[in-house]
């Protein structure tokens, strides 16, 4: 299944959940926030949220800034 992850094309398994995607990327359990198609997916829903073909996913964190 093709999705867009942080602005880049990304392949993942069909019906991959957000938590599976985070595991694959190494960010499970890390302090990140996830948005799918411009909507926040709360941390409590990462396990149950199944991604779909063409979804636009953003995984963000906090970095230094002014």
């Amino acid at each position: 299944m093709h999705i867009t992850l942080n602005g880049h094309p990304h392949d993942c398994g069909d019906n991959f959940t957000v938590i599976q995607l985070l595991h694959e990327a190494g960010y499970a359990g890390r302090r990140v926030a996830v948005e799918v198609n411009h909507e926040i997916v709360p941390r409590s829903q990462h396990g149950g949220y199944a991604l779909r073909e063409g979804d636009k996913v953003e995984i963000v964190h906090a970095i230094g800034g002014g």
Partner: protein, 266 residues
Amino acid sequence: MNIKTHDTTDTLVIAGKSYRSRLLTGTGKYKDLDETRRATLAAGAEIVTAAIRRVNLGQDPHAPNLLDALPPGEFTLLPNTAGCYNAVDAVRTCRLARELLDGHKLVKLEVLGDERTLFPDVVETLKAAEQLVADGFDVMVYTSDDPILAKKLEQIGCVAVMPLAAPIGSGLGIQNKYNLLEIIENAKVPIIVDAGVGTASDAAIAMELGCDGVLMNTAIAGAQDPVLMAHAMKLAIEAGRAAFRAGRIPRKRFASASSPIDGTIG
């Protein structure tokens, strides 16, 4: 003899929370996270900004990050919308920040107009501020030094208004004393100078004008010795605040002798 020079009740109150420090610091442009932390501690800052960015996929997810160096339990994080050029992106960024920081409501809204000046796009800023306030955020808003606009942002419900003193990162100092004074004198929320400070005297001038605080990043992080500059800024903010509270003498064109005239010999 105990000389009372410090009033512990003179605190900066933002969205109902009191802060002893009136120096708010950015966390960008430091050499590494260790320097970020040491400079932040030297500044005595309690409120620190952070940027919200995509994680770097492929890099080590377990590398230390900003929130390890400046834990949210120790500092009040102020996620910003730096890099946003429209209201939609700014609102999205704030919602991501709220999710990231477990429901945290305090945000720094900045919607930029162009890359050359980094001046705020005030039309988009107003739009974003309205949406964020309606969505329950406590909004500290970066804006131009326009007194009318500052008042509108206050009326929308922003918890602090943060006019620039000069362009972001320029280090030009306080270029707009009279605009800032006009904003300060008419404000019912804290006015925090955000952007333009170059060195300690600039911070002191801002505080002497009656600003409630100063937010800076480049002036500290870009100094040759950021930790020492952070310390200098802390002193300048405290000195400027004390001078403002003490009430300066009026400016006069002519001299006024410091020693009594009576009893001189000859």
